[in-house]
Symmetry: C2
Subunit: 432 residues, 2 copies
């Protein structure tokens, strides 16, 4: 029985998806049972890498989500609208949905899953996180026996490329960003990537799956990589670290598992940590749970081929279910979204983490002593204080803390900022 | 609806499995729907870490596979018999089977899957390869859109521990093996691990899933790590490699995808390769396909907790299907074994690979020239020939080849062995 699908969007990922489906030889035989009957695009005039017979390509996107012959709608438009409305309309018409759209799922997943559960259809999104890396289905289907304690990912290829390149070449953020834009690794408007918004979308999705509760996208504390300098990368290197943009979802220690930390920020990662060696546009997600321990998933985090591989795997999973479970309308509880409650999020001031901070200070006696006393008064225990060099007449001092409460640390910094001897605090980074 | 399961075996993994199922809080809610109603053991008198109510534990294993109330039989006995017979009997009684038994599945998978397909039941085996790492289900459900070109794994924790320790300490095989045995990382009879048999079982299973054809276990060419010396590890290090026991399934270039190389052997891995940094008892599997590129799965390859995590995930997948698809008897084609044909295996003489070889030679002029000529006559092109030192009066010469046909290489070696000046050839290792 051939299953008819409709694609919304024929950009990079849409083209990659069509290329796999139109050339099934040597792949899983189930692909032979899938037919693309409609493809929705913005303009009919654009030249296309893939050819369809007359009438398949249309600019009428609504005709796809309303087509009674189509069983699965594959949304590859990106962005919030019209993606959200088309997904909801497809669900209302009892069509299963496959999407690569992290933005719409991170923000409207609640509404979309509620509609899908009521209609008895699946909404699968393997391609939304980690490109070609299987991570969504493993979290849903392979790791549920565990109490998940943390999910830590390098899940934005653009920023990982920029930070890797800054590390390898000793270059500053601005010049590497320009180069990345020329190479097509960064967008003309790089905000979503370099400010961590894309990674925040993705960790919201992963956290919801791993910790079994809904997550509000706006609860993700988010800092990008614009403030990371070549100097910090060098100092971090000397201290045994590399700097990575990490997306972190972590059960707060001592609290119940629904108390979650959710944050995206540049982080000093010890060089022998599994995530330290993930370079370039690669992504990796490290999941820790009990009794499992640590597992890591590594691979290409973007690109037409890898992302299409994930999209097609979702399509295949729905086709396999359609072929095996027949008329059943009860959803597989491991593949659908069954949780109703929202996770409690720990405010950023309440998390415990280590910090790396760089101070520029006038070269007067007693500064290091004052730093030590001020941190100590605020219960911030220090691992090291090193005067690492000079910038002109200013002494450059790097402080690394033990695990401390972020709120206490910020209070101490406010006090330190008021000290006459302190010129500025150019860098505040967290340490894994 | 609670699903009743029976465990065969309450050793390390059986105990880990029971511990998860008896303590479901904070894990996937589906675990609350699973009840262990029988546990088969060899002796009732042994002290147990987990307690069951009277009557659950029995020595009558057949009563479990014949119990009409039990829907899923979880085989954790290991070994070929009685595991094989009990699995077949469970299937005959239309029970689904979950197993961690690579030996029985690599050797009798053909018979077991044929019976399962006829009975309309699932046989899942996530725990058979890579301990807690999700690799079986990703291969079945997430990577099928690709033409898989290779699967390369470090899938035996014992040998990876021994090789990592030999590398870190400069120690020889024998002493590290003894230490590993004392620590419980190696069995009293280490044959299955150190001779590569366990890795061969596992790559046979992975190859069958990745390349979509049945595989005969005896077709896996298998060499263990007993011949790896501290000297070779040092020389490999100088050349930019680490030595790992790799299990390799690879489509032979130019042939169709059913022409497969299947081999387990110690291998020189370039230090910047993703598998080079997998150390200790960790496992990793690198899958390469088109259009995906490379993805790697990394984690704990053994141990009660990780392996139980995989076993329970399989149980949960079957329970999820039972709850959603109801009375359907058509198996999900992505979760069942649908291929009927056997993969064609490329004979080891016909594969193309690089070699590292160490010769001990009497110190007479012209030896290196003779080596070069003999290899050249046999179409074996060399990358480097280095006289690396002396052992007593014998010169130690290390040769690294380009990609060459193994048959030609072996013919050249036979000729070289007959040369008066050559004392011996202590090491022949392949290079990735």
């Amino acid at each position: 029985m051939a299953v008819k699908i409709g694609l919304l969007g024929l950009g990079t990922v849409g083209t990659g998806t069509a290329e796999i489906l139109l050339d099934p030889t040597g792949r899983n035989p189930l692909l032979g049972d899938i037919t693309i009957t409609k493809v929705g695009v913005r303009s009919l005039d654009k030249p296309r890498q893939v050819q369809f017979v007359e009438g398949v390509i249309t600019t009428d996107l609504e005709s796809i989500v309303n087509d009674p012959d189509i069983a699965i709608v594959v949304e590859l438009l990106g962005g919030l609208e019209p993606a959200r409305s088309l997904i909801l309309q497809a669900i209302a018409n009892k069509k299963h949905v496959v999407t690569a759209n992290k933005a719409v799922m991170a923000r409207h997943g609640d509404e979309i899953y509620a509609a899908a559960n009521e209609a008895g259809v699946y909404v699968l999104l393997e391609a939304a996180v980690g490109g070609g890396i299987p991570i969504i289905k493993p979290l849903k289907q392979s790791l549920g026996a565990n109490r998940i304690t943390s999910i830590i990912g390098i899940i934005n290829g653009t920023t990982n490329y920029i930070l890797s390149k800054m590390t390898a070449d000793g270059a500053d953020f601005g010049e590497v960003l320009t180069e990345a834009q020329q190479l097509g690794y960064a967008e003309a408007d790089p905000t979503a990537d370099v400010d961590g918004l894309d990674a925040a979308d993705k960790i919201a999705i992963l956290a919801s799956l791993g910790f079994g509760g809904r997550v509000k996208r706006e609860d993700v504390h988010c800092e990008g990589i614009r403030q990371v300098t070549a100097a910090d990368i060098t100092y971090a290197e000397q201290l045994g670290f590399v700097i990575k943009l990490l997306a972190i979802a972590k059960g707060t220690e001592g609290a119940n598992s629904q108390q979650l930390q959710l944050r995206v920020h540049p982080t000093l990662v010890p060089k022998d940590h599994p995530l330290a060696s993930i370079n370039g546009v690669y992504n990796a997600v490290l999941v820790e749970g009990n009794p499992l321990g640590q597992v890591m998933f590594f691979g290409p985090g973007a690109g037409a081929g890898p992302t299409a591989s994930a999209v097609v795997s979702d399509i295949m999973n729905i086709v396999a279910i359609l072929q095996s479970s027949g008329v059943s309308t009860t959803l597989d509880p491991l593949l659908s979204c069954v949780h109703q409650h929202f996770c409690q999020i720990t405010p950023i001031e309440a998390i415990k983490t280590r910090f790396y901070t760089r101070f520029l200070s006038r070269d007067v006696p007693g500064v290091i002593g004052y730093l030590g006393i001020t941190f100590g008064n605020n219960e911030v225990s220090l691992e090291s204080v090193v005067q690492i060099g000079f910038q002109g007449e200013l002494a450059e001092i790097v402080v690394v803390t033990h695990h401390v409460c972020e709120g206490n640390f910020r209070t101490a910094l406010d006090e330190i900022r008021n000290l006459e001897a302190i010129d500025s605090i150019p860098s505040i980074l967290r340490v894994l």
